[in-house]
């Protein structure tokens, strides 16, 4: 992972509004390089193609949900260390525990603030750099 401004994000969410909100927020925080996917299946195909440094994913999505995407990422040797931040409306503790056990790098519950996103990104990137 190079300079933080060069980090390439993949935003995965079935709602186009949310993808756009996330892209705007990343831009405001200082990350201009982001691509989008509408479900886990599309996301995984893009990730396998290479070039991504960070995944921000929803959980409830058609075709392949966020947990399934996370499992696929962790099972793929070329992607297993990729930071994955789950951003979801699922506020159930069991979902948060499952995400942690499945190897998520962080978990944000919607609705969230820019400060929360900025803080989580900074922490995850710091950890990834140290690893």
């Amino acid at each position: 992972m190079g300079n933080s401004a060069d980090i390439k994000f993949l935003i995965v969410d079935d709602f186009s509004t949310m993808r756009r909100i996330m892209r705007n927020l990343l831009k405001e925080i200082g990350y201009n390089n982001a691509d989008e996917a509408e479900d886990g299946y599309v996301a995984f195909n893009k990730l396998v193609g290479g070039g991504f440094d960070f995944v921000i994913s929803d959980i409830n999505m058609p075709n392949m949900n966020g947990f399934e995407l996370l499992a696929q990422i962790r099972a793929e040797p070329s992607l297993k260390l990729l930071p994955v931040l789950m951003v979801t409306a699922e506020a159930k503790k069991e979902d948060i525990v499952l995400a942690a056990q499945s190897g998520a790098s962080g978990y944000i519950v919607k609705p969230f603030t820019k400060a929360t996103l900025e803080d989580k990104l900074a922490r995850i990137l710091l950890k990834a750099k140290a690893a």
């Binding site: 969410d13 709602f15 186009s16 509004t17 949310m18 756009r20 909100i21 705007n24 927020l25 405001e28 409830n60 409306a89 919607k110 609705p111 969230f112 603030t113 820019k114």
Partner: protein, 228 residues
Amino acid sequence: MSLPPVLGARFESSVQQAQSLKLKKYGIKDMSITATETGEVFHRLGQITRQLHDALQQLGYDRKIEHALNEMPDARSRLDYIARLTGEAAHKVLNSVDTAHHLQDEISQSAAQLQAKLVASSSPEAAEMNQFLDLMKKNSRLQKENLSDIVLAQDFHDLTGQVICRVVDMASTLEKQLLQLLLETNPQAHGEKVLPVKLAGPVVASNGRSDVVTNQAQVDDLLESFGF
């Protein structure tokens, strides 16, 4: 609602038979249920179910179920309409915010450029202008923070959309169950068309409909055909 006399009598008879079965069961020393008794219980359950079906028909509930069933696609359509409209509204807001963001960037950049030119000047007017440009830059930054809040607030579309999706799923399941219940209580009923109640309000699904207009141009065309 009280049962009609004929159903009341049937119900009373069923209760008496069930009580008689119960007494018979507890009257014997061996508490296990014999094959004959099991068959008898199932036979009685079948009778009670049939009586329930008859009661639903006689009380007119099958028509009510059919009414409810006919309302379901309309309810789903209306929920889809809400999801679509809120999504379009959210995108319109995001487009406007993007434009406003660029305009604020231009204002603050121009202010900074002008301030750089004023550095050489020591006139009182220049100092006043400098103060004004500082205020512009500060307000531009605050406006961008407001725009950021507006962007984040559009997540209502995602959150309400997820709730709507779940309600639509529930409605689909309920629709299937009602259809099953209707077919079981009155297999002939499904062939008869029950007219749905027409609800006032916007047209939520114009596809395949020739009785509605979808935009102002169509309204104007229609009015024009009447000489307006």
